[in-house]
């Protein structure tokens, strides 16, 4: 059973890796977007899904990663990979400096405090000459979509392995304990402040790397698009749709919602957003604990699973 699952996952990764060799340009571009969104959903999964802190600040990490690459390549003429590293450093510094005050807040208060961060960063960056102020930066183009695709896939694999490690390490157990009951975790010896900050930083590293790859691929960025709060909403929806606090749920959520959104925008174009909203609302009502939970329980309860969820959450 376990061996079968590993073989299935390896086969899925192999098929995904082969897409650039037989897929169309459109499919590859769709793939890069979907893979990067999956990385972002997995990054959010660490702080939101495992640690229980619903962060709206992850789009800041994404923006810092983008600017790390852009500044390194445009202003300093340094190679792309140095830029990625620079973006990661920026994200980690940000996570530590802001994590320590903000992670003291719980629940809605944490969400609201992080919600403001993207706005603030956007305003700051708009005034930094090094970052191109509000005009933005144009990166040297690299016309190599297969490379961006494989980079994104590799990053997703690393992010997912990290989360797999979380589920069986002391560190991950500490995070889960914080999510389940923070005071209970502290009196059992979990250094909650340190663990939350590390989780925030780890989450930020993956978001920053995704942002860096995206910036080089798109070859342009400005403060508006780099610190876009709707991207943060997207990663939360995807992680929650798939199953927060699970290893594969956020990936499934990101892929399926990317596909639904792609189909909708080519079929019904102008009102795609509306239909997408309907899908999300239906998902939250029918399976509030995500696809992963549904798949696990559907075998036992069948169609009753949906009716029970509706009943359990009526007002």
């Amino acid at each position: 059973m376990k061996a079968l699952r590993i073989i299935l996952i390896l086969a899925a990764v192999a098929i995904l890796a082969l897409v650039p060799w037989f897929g169309s340009d459109v499919l590859i571009q769709f793939g890069i977007n979907a893979l990067l969104l999956a990385v972002l959903a997995q990054g959010w999964n660490i702080i939101g899904g495992y640690t229980g802190y619903a962060s709206f600040g992850n789009s800041v990490f994404y923006g810092l990663g983008s600017y790390g690459v852009a500044i390194a390549m445009v202003q300093w003429n340094l190679p792309f990979y140095f830029g990625l590293g620079f973006g990661v450093v920026l994200a980690v510094v940000f996570a530590i400096l802001l994590g320590i005050p903000v992670l003291r807040l719980r629940g809605h208060y944490f969400a609201i405090a992080t919600l403001a961060l993207a706005q603030v960063m956007s305003a700051i960056v708009s005034n930094v000459a090094l970052a191109g102020r509000n005009i933005g930066l144009v990166l040297p183009p690299l016309n190599n979509d297969p490379l961006f695709y494989e980079l994104s896939l590799g990053l997703l694999v690393v992010a997912t392995l990290t989360i797999y490690w979380l589920t069986r390490s002391r560190f991950g157990f500490g995070l889960i304990a914080i999510r389940e009951n923070e005071e209970g975790a502290a009196v059992m010896g979990v250094n909650t402040t340190l663990y939350k900050t590390l989780a925030f930083a780890l989450s930020g590293i993956f978001s920053a790397l995704a942002g860096g790859i995206h910036a080089y691929w798109i070859t342009f960025l400005d403060p508006e698009s780099a610190f876009d709060i709707s991207l943060n909403v997207k990663m939360i929806i995807m992680a929650v749709f798939g199953g927060p606090g699970t290893i594969l749920g956020p990936i499934v959520g990101a892929f399926s919602l990317s596909a639904i959104s792609e189909v909708l925008s080519s079929e019904v174009t102008s009102i795609a957003g509306l239909f997408f909203g309907v899908v999300v609302v239906a998902a939250v009502v029918l399976m509030p604990r995500g696809l992963a939970d549904m798949l696990r329980r559907f075998r036992k309860t069948g169609w009753r699973y949906f009716s029970e969820n509706i009943r359990a959450h009526r007002i």
Binding site: S169, R170, A177, N181, G184, A186, V187, M188, T192
Partner: protein, 243 residues
């Protein structure tokens, strides 16, 4: 013999209310100290002050001769102070086994790997009588099961001092006897225990010494029989006798 816990003139104020007022006492190694008192006497506050989830307004708390002032709760836990909560704080979404494994992973004693921690957790759950529930989710346990789970979680930390906040409240006679037996066995392992309890009969048979709190102040401290016949204690519990 030097005390493992030395509470020195500890006071805790909440705005205008004095929850604990200038309380001093010691806990000796291997001792079971019972703390009783009417509702609102400051018993749970006292445990929170020792475990570090609250800071005292004034006074000092020494553990093995060293002050705990300003030390965060997690470091006290690693030094060997384990506590249970009256309002239970399980990790609801985790299995009963993993709830206890957290204690083995993070508590006092050598830092275990996950497999070892689960093994230790399993032994601890057998010890408190939850051996059959290891695979259940913690929020599927009933009230008595959760009380035992609180105990197992604290014990998995391999503490030197165990602070029990009403682990018997809401249990029936048979279950109370079982918990008394468990606590007796814990003491047999050399762990010093502070027990808060409402069930006077249970705490009397269990404790070496009783301490009575009333309106945040210590009104009696001594052998259980002496303390329970003390006029001030009787008055606190039953009210003033009319002449």
């Amino acid at each position: 013999m030097s005390a493992i816990l030395d509470i020195q003139h500890v006071t805790r104020r909440f705005a205008g209310l004095i929850a604990v007022n200038d309380v001093s006492f010691t806990l000796q190694p291997g001792e079971i100290l019972g703390v009783i008192g009417p509702n609102g006497a400051g018993k749970t506050t006292l445990i929170s002050l020792i475990s570090g989830t609250l800071a005292p307004t004034s006074g000092d708390i020494l553990f093995e001769g060293k002050s705990l002032l300003g030390m965060p709760a997690y470091r006290r836990a690693r030094l060997g102070i384990g506590r249970t909560f009256q309002i239970m704080r399980p990790f609801p979404g985790l299995s009963v086994l993993d709830n206890v494994a957290v204690g083995a992973l993070f508590g006092h004693g050598e830092q275990a790997k996950l497999a070892q921690a689960r093994e230790r957790a399993r032994a601890q759950l057998d010890f408190v009588g939850l051996g059959r529930n290891v695979d259940q989710r913690a929020d599927e346990l009933g009230g008595p099961g959760r009380k035992r789970l609180e105990l197992a979680k604290a014990l998995a930390m391999q503490p030197k001092v165990l602070l029990c906040d009403e682990v018997m409240a809401g249990l029936n006679h048979v279950e109370i006897d079982e918990v008394i037996e468990v606590i007796g066995k814990v003491r047999g392992e050399g762990i010093s225990i502070l027990v808060i309890e409402h069930v006077i009969k249970a705490i009397k048979s269990l404790s070496d010494r009783l301490l009575v709190l009333h309106h945040g102040e210590k009104i009696a401290d001594g052998a259980p029989d002496d303390v329970l016949s003390n006029a001030a204690v009787v008055e606190a519990y039953l009210g003033k006798r009319r002449a």
